[in-house]
Symmetry: C2
Subunit: 337 residues, 2 copies
């Protein structure tokens, strides 16, 4: 295991100490619990609090989206492990300003159980909580069984649009409606070329041959839908974008935002070669592109691979996506159109 | 070679096509030459043009810093190869608005030769050109021989501060003075755990044992100053920061900006564990930190490793560093202090 770390068992907390030390003006802990991260500074009275949470090892997911114009707090689990309901509750109490709290998280068993429990505990403390589960990975369950799908990089769009809506001081049912709309209109597919190593495990979670790829693999190494010889960038991109387009479906006249997300070790150079193919295919289909994000938005530490997400826009989602946001991991000034 | 590409020989141009397709409102080519990238939109009359250039394979270096508040144009070479002087000249002519052009590039033989030739050709076309060479890698030559050092991630600070100064419509000698000051006050050191593969070569440029690291290795795999067993994050961080602090030297009462730059495959989690150690050591030395950048700023495709850069600030550099900038690869809103 070739990693820069001190001890596997201190990996997460030392990472969090580094994050708080690097960005003290932007992020802080709740009651000195490193696993409970919230926006530094005053709460905005009357603003719905947006919370997320999930396992470590996916930076900038999840805490990297806590900041101005997007999320208010995040509970942090061990590598690929759910945070506890107690940590979620601490974050909930810290970010509630009386307007309620919306949970936005990925569709994983441990997270669902703990967020549900946290919501019940919050209710007993008279904090109104609503939840949205992101399930954007088209490879993880067939059409018609969308609720079984895993949440992956597309959750970024749910955070971004719901965050912009909450920033307008919209009531919680309106913020939830936007989050639901974004979640319903985003589709993602990933491909992996090599695994990552969980520090406390010390060995790769799966193996792939020197000339193999796996399309549809999850961000924890969950099985995909096609394992085969590595193809050209155009062939891989074409397979993935075709599956995404068919699923929603996206079609002629639609306007989308595209996210090409690196899983950790894939160079930006290669992601742009993939985007070239995406651009050709969307033009062919008569689908226009409003905004392209290319970079690392939801990783699996040092995994090699990437995912493609498409968000179908309407006027409301476009206007919310365009709003500024500012976190230590993600900055966007107002987009014009 | 496990890469997402179509053909090694089209790697660079297809990447550039993808970049232009993804960011058509921000970047454009000169005379349809993909290797000549400039800011989209109108030139600002009376603004000194800032140009850089260098080999591909280092995204966001070099073209990723072309945008508002930073650079105006970039000539792009093959992977790890200098662009041609003709391409540099095309960019120079495209970005000159009558106030002259400042070249800022890294200290590599091919780049120096071609930028010098481009400057001579520009002179014949009555464009006033000045040059600054970044040479921030402390591992690449001993103190006293700074001019032999390679340019690495610290060039970001030269771009950022000179870019902000040019944006104030300062004359070229003033912009050059700022660039020289930043270049004189930045120091970098890197460490590698694994190599990258140049697509047209098809095999790694060096090998390192499964338990080995190399400190001081350059971004093209140039030899470092210490090869040995991989140590803990704290030990590696301590070695590197000590060498940097001694070199300038940095000392008690200084204020710095810190850049922890991923070389390609190193997860952000690990870079924050490293930053935790940097924070401890700077506090011990009585050095205060104004702004921390952690991410990928100058890569070597899929190389595993990172570098640390420190910029010693004075009031002028701090105020210029704090100014907003906006490129497809780097966004910063005004920093407050």
């Amino acid at each position: 295991m070739k990693k820069f770390l001190n001890k596997p068992e201190t990996f997460v907390d030392e990472m969090l100490e580094g994050i708080i030390a690097a960005h003290p003006d932007k992020l802080t802990t709740v009651e000195n619990d490193l696993r409970c991260i919230v926006k530094a500074g005053e709460k905005k009275k009357g603003k719905v609090g947006l919370a997320t949470g999930g396992g470590s090892g996916h930076l900038p997911l999840f805490l990297g989206y806590v900041g101005d114009g997007i999320l208010d707090g995040c509970s942090v689990g061990g590598v690929f492990q759910s945070p506890s309901s107690e940590q979620m509750l601490k974050v909930t109490k810290a970010i509630d300003s009386g307007a309620g709290v919306l949970y936005i998280y990925g569709n994983y068993g441990g997270d669902i159980m703990n967020f549900d429990l946290a919501a019940e505990m919050a209710d007993m403390e008279d904090i109104y909580v609503e939840s949205i589960v992101a399930a954007d990975d088209v490879a993880s369950a067939v059409k018609g069984e969308e609720s079984k799908r895993r949440g992956v990089a597309g959750i970024f769009y749910v955070y971004k649009t719901a965050g912009a809506k909450a920033d307008e001081l919209a009531p919680i049912d309106e913020v939830k409606r936007v989050a639901e709309k974004a979640a319903a209109n985003v589709r993602t597919m990933g491909v992996a070329l090599s695994p990552c190593i969980v520090p406390e495990v010390g060995k790769p979670s799966f193996t792939l041959g020197d000339d193999e790829m796996e399309i549809g693999m999850g961000i924890h190494g969950e099985p995909g839908i096609h394992r085969g010889k590595l193809e050209t960038a155009d062939e891989v991109g074409s397979r993935m974008i075709s599956a995404i387009l068919e699923d929603l479906p996206f079609g002629k006249g639609d306007e989308v935002s595209v996210l090409v997300n690196g899983l950790g070790a894939t160079p930006k150079e290669e992601m742009y070669i993939i985007y070239r193919k995406i651009d050709h295919m969307l033009k062919e289909k008569g689908i226009s592109v409003f905004k392209v994000y290319i970079g690392e938005f939801a990783t699996s530490m040092e995994m090699t691979g990437f995912s493609i997400s498409l968000l179908k826009l309407d006027d409301e989602l476009k206007q919310l996506l365009a709003k500024p946001a500012n976190t230590p991991f993600f900055e966007q000034t107002q987009l014009t159109f």
